[in-house]
Every structure is written in structure tokens, then in C-alpha cells.
Symmetry: C2
Subunit: 436 residues, 2 copies
């Protein structure tokens, strides 16, 4: 049968990995897809490097838009990254009636609505499994595997760099800055790590999963982000004493009046399987009303893991591009005409449990004052841990709350911080029980 011709835009790590895996497993992939899938052309700014990565027999161009318009290309694979050239290439490919596969989480999280509308109008598919959690087929699980369910929440460890740093901080009791240097040396963190450690990358992925889980448009601009750069090693230790681990967790949860969408360092009970996902690995836990909790675990980055997802999309398209466009799996899991208009809730409206760390003068009545202010705010205490008094006459007090609304917690904390007996700011972290 006639091969499917792929054009790769951007021959970096993932582009090279995709070509390598397509070549190495060409027979196995053709047995599954029903026809061979071959790289016909590629565009790169560095043609010598691209030639080395792709070998002979692949047409090389220096203009990605030429791939999008290439008459012999069936599917365009966009691996350029960013939202400028990449967006132009994706829209041009769709305009030219080509299916698109992309690993670009930023592009989908920020411009997905526009891209999918255009693809729907043109009757082509845009697939993006590689954009979320690298090699883990979690988009497929959410979009197709769990269609019976009303999804209640999705929680994910979806940034390997941050998870590596947090794992090392816990295991070695080390400070954030030291571990970051180590991660950079090992190649697990970029020279400028902001995008990973401040939660942008995780929020892009979470935004996409939120849309697919709840049938809402992608809305990255409404996501709440908090990174791990200010996380204190002391809190990791205290959390552990109380039976929790701290992870950079993306949480999106259905509430009666809207959807929570937030990324922040979060406590999870140590006994949960997802709390034991360490190092650069990723995992996504999904709670559906029928199935309960299911979890998807694997490598969240890397050349061949990401290529695995890119190629799964290529095989999906190869298998199903003859299907009537109205009957294909919808881009965002729900039919475009059936999108819900549930708003993303502001962080003030979020309801969760909290970990609070106060530094207090060792004097009578402090605890009474603090617990009264919490009670006045409707916040009830689940556990409390008072640490030994230090030489300066101060002591750390750690409080774990039951469910509370964020704005109430913030209001109570403002009053607590105003007490003479409390030193400095209260550390506030969110805590998720993630009960199945």
C-alpha cells in the first residue's frame, strides 16, 4: 500500500528521535498502521545537522512553510516550538488540507481553540499526544479511554525538572539552589530554568488536560501558577514528619460553579502511589465518577519517549484519516458544538486543604490566638505539629487544615501575621488527599 508521507518541521532532539524510531521500527509500525510511514521531507535551520540526523533520501528545506505547502506531504509534524513560526506553519498546513502532529504544549494551550476550529472547518486532524507528559499516552486515555465518566479531577506530576529537584531536595535535605545547579549539570534543567521551575510548562500541559477532561476551551491565561523556587527545605522535612510528600502538582477539578486550574508545590499523602513518583518521571492521576482513580506513569520527556507519542499520532491519523471528519475523535474529546461554558475559577475561589508554617514567639496564648483566628474564618484544623523552641525563643508551628476556601485562608493568615507573637510571613502550601 502507498506509504504515508511525513514532513518534519524542526529537526532537533525530538525530530531526530522521531526519524530514528520511524526508521528502526518501520516494519512493526507498518504492520500496525497498514501501510508504511516515511519521512519524505524536513525543514531545519541547520541543514548539515538535519542531514546527519535523517540520513540520505529525505528532502531537506530551510523553510518550514514549504513543508506545510509541499504537494507530496500527507502529515506535517511541527517540532519547532514557540508560538510564532510554529503557529504559522500549523495554520498553513491546515489551510493546505494536511493533517498536523505537534509536540508543542505552549502552542496548543495558548492557541488551540483557533487551530482546532480551522482544522474542523478544513476536515483535517491536529494531534498532540506528545504535548502532554511526553511518552505517556494520557491524552488518549482522557479523550478515548475514559469517555464513560464524568471526570471529577485530574492531578499530575507533569514537569520532570521540578520533580527531579524536589526528589533530590527530599533525599539529600539540600536547598533548592544547590539542587538546581546539580540538575543543570546533569542536563535535567535548562540554563534558564524559569519555564520549568515556575510552573509554566506544567500549566500548559494541565490546561490541555483540563479542556479534554471537562469539555471546555483551552484557557491558559486563567491558570494559576506557583513555582518551586521559593520552597524551603524545612517544609519538605516537616511535611515528611506529618506523612506527606511535596510535589509540583497540577490540579484541575470540577466544582459546581467552575473549574479549578492550578499548578503549585502541593502536599500529597506519602502512601499514595503518585507520591512515590520520583526523579524525572511523570504521572497523571484521573478521577472519574464510574471508574474511580486511574493513573498513567512514564517518562515525561526525552527524544524517543516524545517520539513515541508523535508516532502514535501518526499511526492514528494513518488508520483513521479515511473516516468522515464528523465522526472522528474530537480534538478536545468533546464535540466542538458541545463545549461547556464553565468558567475557570480564580485562585481565591479554590477549595483545598492547607499546610501552614508559622514562626511564633514561645509565649502563652499564641496557639490560642492562632486557632481562634482560623476558627473565626471557618477553617478547621486537621493536625498540628509544634517544633522545639530555638535559642532565640521562637518555635515553628505547622498546621494542616481540613478543606477551606483560599480567600478565607488568606484573610485569616493576614490577621495571624498581624499578631505581635508571630514572626514574618506564614508559609502556605496546598495539600491534596487525592482519595480514589
Amino acid at each position: 500500500m502507498k506509504p504515508i508521507h511525513v514532513g518534519i518541521c524542526g529537526v532537533g532532539t525530538v525530530g531526530g528521535g522521531t526519524a530514528t524510531v520511524l526508521k528502526r521500527n518501520c516494519e512493526e509500525i507498518a504492520r500496525r498502521a497498514g501501510r508504511p510511514i516515511v519521512v519524505r521531507a524536513a525543514a531545519s535551520r541547520d541543514l548539515a545537522r538535519a542531514r546527519a540526523a535523517l540520513g540520505e533520501g529525505v528532502e531537506l528545506l530551510d523553510d518550514a512553510l514549504a513543508i506545510a505547502r509541499h504537494p507530496d506531504i500527507d502529515i506535517v509534524v511541527e517540532l519547532i516550538g514557540g508560538t510564532t513560526v510554529a503557529k504559522d506553519v500549523v495554520l498553513a498546513a491546515i489551510e493546505n488540507g494536511k493533517h498536523v502532529v505537534t509536540a508543542n504544549k505552549k502552542l496548543i494551550a495558548e492557541y488551540g481553540n483557533e487551530i482546532f476550529a480551522k482544522a474542523q472547518a478544513k476536515g483535517v486532524m491536529v494531534a498532540f499526544e506528545a504535548a502532554v507528559a511526553g511518552g505517556i499516552p494520557v491524552i488518549k486515555a482522557l479523550r478515548e479511554g475514559l469517555t464513560a465518566n464524568t471526570i471529577e479531577w485530574v492531578a499530575g506530576i507533569i514537569n520532570g525538572t521540578s520533580n527531579f529537584i524536589l526528589t533530590e531536595m527530599r533525599d539529600k535535605g539540600a536547598a533548592f539552589a544547590d539542587v538546581l545547579k546539580e540538575a543543570q549539570r546533569l542536563g535535567y534543567a535548562e540554563a534558564d530554568p524559569t519555564f520549568d521551575i515556575e510552573g509554566h510548562d506544567a500549566a500548559h500541559k494541565l490546561t490541555i488536560m483540563s479542556a479534554i477532561a471537562f469539555g471546555i476551551p483551552v484557557q491558559f491565561d486563567k491558570a494559576y501558577l506557583e513555582g518551586i523556587s521559593k520552597l524551603d527545605a524545612a517544609d519538605i522535612k516537616y511535611a515528611q514528619e506529618l506523612g506527606y510528600r511535596i510535589k509540583l502538582l497540577g490540579v484541575t477539578r470540577r466544582r459546581p460553579h467552575g473549574i479549578e486550574l492550578r499548578v503549585a508545590p502541593t502536599l500529597i499523602p506519602a502512601k499514595r502511589l503518585i507520591a512515590n513518583v520520583d526523579g524525572v518521571m511523570n504521572a497523571v492521576l484521573v478521577k472519574g465518577d464510574a471508574v474511580g482513580a486511574t493513573m498513567y506513569y512514564g517518562p515525561g520527556a526525552g527524544a524517543e519517549p516524545t517520539a513515541s507519542s508523535v508516532i502514535a499520532d501518526l499511526v492514528d491519523i494513518t488508520r483513521l484519516h479515511t473516516a468522515d471528519p464528523e465522526h472522528r475523535v474530537p480534538h478536545l474529546a468533546f464535540q466542538p458544538s458541545a463545549m461547556a461554558d464553565l468558567p475557570i475559577l480564580p485562585i481565591d475561589e479554590v477549595e483545598t486543604c492547607y499546610y501552614l508554617r508559622l514562626n511564633a514567639q514561645d509565649q502563652p496564648g499564641v496557639l490560642a490566638d492562632v486557632t481562634r483566628l482560623l476558627a473565626d474564618g471557618g477553617i478547621s484544623v486537621d493536625a498540628m505539629l509544634q517544633k522545639e523552641v530555638t535559642d532565640d525563643g521562637r518555635a515553628d508551628i505547622i498546621i494542616i487544615t481540613h478543606l477551606a476556601v483560599e480567600k478565607n485562608v488568606n484573610a485569616a493568615l493576614a490577621k495571624i501575621e498581624a499578631l505581635d507573637s508571630i514572626n514574618g510571613k506564614v508559609v502556605k502550601l496546598r495539600l491534596e488527599h487525592l482519595n480514589g
Copy 2:
């Protein structure tokens, strides 16, 4: 849009759960599928019970074959179980041009080849996500999510009853028989538990995953089965001392000359995530050459988790039944014309690591004799643990081997058991490192 009409054959736990979830989530499911999915008719031997489960408005019949021939039914859901009536119903439904969804692992593992050939000829789909690992969409992951990969192995904890029993034996140090009684009292084990505890159920599921992973026909008759009923609590304790947990593990692995396909109580390093899957939960770990190791975790049984998978299949069929049959996702992941003829290897040819427990007289030279016999058989020792001598002058010796071929191990064990200094049979368990 016109609803898809479903006919349910067998209104037991899963049938009732399927109807309940289809009704409760009808709006969410229609938003995803593009049209409503409704139960139009059902067949049951107990019409009063079926009426109670399904409510009014569903046509009830006492003959499942009448559902397979019903002119208004688009998809037949077979939940009868077994391989007699169930097989007739599935074949009759296909004959009548209807798509089929089944949760029947025994039927697919034993008669899948015949059923899929007939479905292919008739241009209909037969879907069976619910047959493996209950609510976990692992068939979809293997068949569609990991298509880029040459699958190296699949290892699964895929029988909740056995996993519950093993978890309790470990946590409470209890004997198999006592925990089985407890499991029966809690409803986690059947009155006749043979099918679960002797590995048949796990082997059915593993047979199906093996076919999909490697592109071979289903061959349940070639699977090797060993149950947990003879497992000694002492071995669970010794394994733990050595850093391992014992699980009833299904393993299917590609070797140069064939495929390993085996279910047996197996040691796994305690630090692996899958070793921490406890109670009735299921998990499947898949090693692909591109992605590395990914894991899928969730409830392996129960009314609504299983219904979740049945309905996911209904939505898949609803979305894609307009696709040209040649281009749909193949039943066993690979195109029927591209099946491999790799044989299933006999257990003698399996290569893995081993845990051996010997009961020896406390006399000089025993260890030397044992290790010499192992070395003569080409079996090298990874770790050894000698327990204290008991009052009768005997001691347990535990040996963990590196990779060895089963027939070589058996030959060496026969010689070891023939030594005067060794009491009784040597306990032999397999051990899998499951390295990503």
C-alpha cells in the same frame, strides 16, 4: 442526531453498572460521542431483576440470541460470560452485521482468532477493553498509544483477588488459607476461588495483551500458569528481607525465538512503583523500545469500573463506525495480514532470575555442594541469605540467582534435592527486575 441503540446480553453486576452509568452520564457521553447512546433492549434469565436494574423503557427478552438478531440494535454488549451461549451470541451478532462489545476475557483469549476473522469479513468491530484490567484503558494504550514501539515486555498485576490475598499475607504475616477466608467474607474472592488464585483469570488477560503487544494470534492454551495457593508465608517474609515483594505477576516477553507467556507468583524489587500496587488494585507495566517503561494503574474489577471500559468501547464504535473497515484500528493492534508467527515458548525455555529456598542440615560443605551444582548448571548467584539454625539442626538458605534458563535451573535443583544434606523440595519462585 439519531441515538446509537445498544442491546445488553446479561444483566448482572456489569450489565447493571453499564446501564446505570449510561443513564447517569448520558449528557456527558453524548457531548463526547456526538450522539446519544441508549440501551434499547436487554436479555436476561431473570427478567424481574433486569427490570429493576434497567428501569422502564428498555425492551426485555429472555433470549440473548434475539438481541443479536434484533433489527433496532446497532451494538450488542455481551456480558453473559463463559464460552457457550456467549460465543453463539457474539458470532450471531457479527453475522447480523452488528458491532460487539464484550468484557469476556475467556471468550477472547480462547476464541478471539475465530471471532476477529469473522468480524473482519463482516466489516464490524469487536471491542474488549473491559476484558483486561477492568477500568484501566490498557488495551487502548497498547493498541493505539504505544504504536511507535517494538514492545519488549508486558508485566501485570491483573487479578485483584490474588493481589488482595498477597497484600494481606505480607501485612499480617498470615497464612494463605486464613487470608482466603477473609477475602471470601469481604466479597473479594468467590466461593470457588480457583479461577482467580490459580492464575487462569490473569492468564486470559495476559494472553490478550500478549497478542496485542507482539502481533500474534491469541494462544491461551500455550500460557504457563502457577497460582498462589501453595505460596508459603515464610517466602514472603524472606523476600521482604532481601528487598522484594511477591506478586502474582503475568509476564509476556519477546525473545529472539519466541514469546514468553507466564503467570506465577514472582518477586519484584520493592522500590519499583508496581511493587507498591496493593489490595484489589491492578497495574500493567509495558516496556517499549522507544518510550521505555510506562505504567497503567486502576481498579481491575467492579460494576462501574468495568462499565467504564464497556462504555469507552461503545463511544469508540459510535465515533468510528463510519470509517472504512480496512482503516479502523485492528482488533489485535496489528493488521490481520501482518500477524507474526513467533511461537509461545514452553516454560522450560523461559529465561529469568530465580528465588530458591532450601532447607539444609547444618553441616560443613552443604553450601559448597549447592553452589557447585548451580555453577555446573551455568547458574550464577546474585545474593544469598542463611537463616539461623533451628532446634532440629536445620536452616533455611535463600538464594537469588542472576538470569538463568528454567530447564537449567530445574536440572540443578533435581541434583540439589538429591543431596543427603538437603531436606525435601526446594522452593522455586521467579524474580523479575522490571528495569525501565
